[in-house]
Amino acid sequence: MKRLIVILLLLTAVLPAAPVEVLLAATETELQPLLARLVDPHTEKHAAWQFWTGTLDGKVVALTRTEGDPLNAVAATTLAIRRYAPKLVVTFGAARAHDPALRPGDVVVSGSFAAFDGMISAHRDLNGGTAPLQWKILPHAIMTPGEQEKYLPAFPAYEPALAVAQKLTGARGRVVTGVLGSANQVNHEPDRIATLRTQWGTSCEDPESAHIAGCALLLGVPVIGVRVIDGTDAEAAALVTQLLGGLK
């Protein structure tokens, strides 16, 4: 019997998990309102990352903790896609505005995503200082089949999910379609923010959404993003609930 149990445990570890409809990726606090409502929850840990599966509003889902930075977000998304084969990835949470027209509580849904952490500076001699507002952009070069990298200043969002997202209702603001920008940066310099917006077209910044979108693009899984400007965890979770309800 002992041997049988060991074998069954091994089997569980190597067999792919049951596929899910949607992968929800966000930070620990942003996940909490959804985890509290997850029906029949199961959790799995793998290396530094954790996953929860269950049912949310009738949808079979997996949730993963991104830790609020691109590396953890991409690693967790890769593992979750490999293990749970989701049909759609949803990245959600709060963001800081790049577009001066955005107000706290406004909701930005992903027309596209821009990973804006890439830059190239021109040569300057020692003691020549730095000219950050003149740095050129360096888009991520996404690997494609055939071993060719493709430089993409923006990653696409899944249009059918975008159509649903555009009909969401924000708790205290408008819903606009924009460019979700991400980098492991917190930018508080208005001049730099204006330059980033000019160069990348970003509506807002957060630490992970475009990197998750790039990973999903690499692995051929559609993606959608929903971000609340200076939003709360509850606001973002409520929007995800609306989104899940609207998805076919």
Binding site: V14, T78, R124, E189, G220
Partner: protein
């Protein structure tokens, strides 16, 4: 019971390739070309858009991975490579930009440590006050400790495997010198010498590139030994522009290393 064991073996066979001793990575084709040429009895496997070539170099079973450049590609392909091939050691190698004036074209830095240097929080400034990168506050990479469940900051990045480092420092670079040093990774090409000097002073960086620090973090999360080799392919202090063929030096160095390193426990 016998039938169950057979079924289990079949499932394992279907799910993952045979483990390798070393996962060797390069971001670009030029960076893996010499390693692929040295790979014996090789065959190619594709996972998503990523190519892996499995074969032998010396006494070691090797998977060579074309990761693509920068964080999104290399993190995804490293996780896939680990899950598929369960390596005992990861070697990340390729080109880099010198961050210190002593380095010349074709010199190789063996990573005593590797870190992500591109993350920051900027202090608040007024509209029209410009941007001040030297005032930006670096943000270290964090990983969750699986034992304690806590997020841990790695301010100095991730140390290279001491045994692999020792072997690498005895390995021949056919085109230049070999030094132990610090490798910084970000999706950046920095040619402003004041900022290059700031990176060297702030993080201790000898070279900058786009993958090693990220791969080091993933290896650490999995508890896998890790080492990085980076050849100087551009040297802004000396006015040497990017010379992609320098990749050949680090690839040949990597082959020498793989032929030298003893069996991995």
């Amino acid at each position: 019971m016998k039938r169950l064991v057979l079924f289990l073996m079949l499932v394992v066979a279907l799910r993952a390739a045979e483990p390798v001793d070393v996962l060797v990575q390069g971001a670009e084709k030029l960076e893996v070309a010499e390693i692929l040429a040295a790979l014996v009895d090789s065959h190619k496997t594709e996972i998503g858009p990523f190519s892996f070539w499995v074969g032998r170099i010396g006494s070691h079973r090797i998977a060579v991975s074309l990761t693509g450049q920068s964080l999104i590609n290399c993190t995804t392909s490293t996780v896939l490579g680990i899950e598929e091939f369960h390596p005992k050691l990861i070697v990340n190698q390729g080109t880099s930009g010198a961050q210190a004036p002593y380095l010349k074209l074709h010199d190789i830095i063996v990573g005593q440590r590797a870190l992500d240097y591109g993350n920051f929080t900027s202090p608040v400034r007024a509209v029209g006050a410009g941007s001040a990168p030297f005032a930006w506050i670096p943000v270290p990479q964090r990983l969750r400790d699986s034992a304690t469940g806590q997020l841990v900051e790695f301010r100095d990045g991730f140390a290279g495997d001491p045994a692999a480092l020792a072997v690498a420092l005895r390995t021949s670079n056919p085109m230049g010198r070999v030094f132990a040093g610090v490798i910084g990774s970000a999706h950046e090409v920095n040619l402003e010498l004041d900022r290059v000097r700031w990176s060297a002073q702030t993080f201790g960086m000898d070279v900058e590139e786009m993958e090693s620090g990220h791969v080091a973090a993933i290896a650490h999360a999995y508890g896998i030994r890790y080492i990085a080799f980076r050849v100087v392919s551009d040297a802004p202090y000396a006015g040497v522009p990017f010379h992609p063929q320098a990749a050949r030096a680090t690839a040949l160095f990597t082959v020498n290393f793989l032929q030298t390193i003893p069996a991995l426990p």
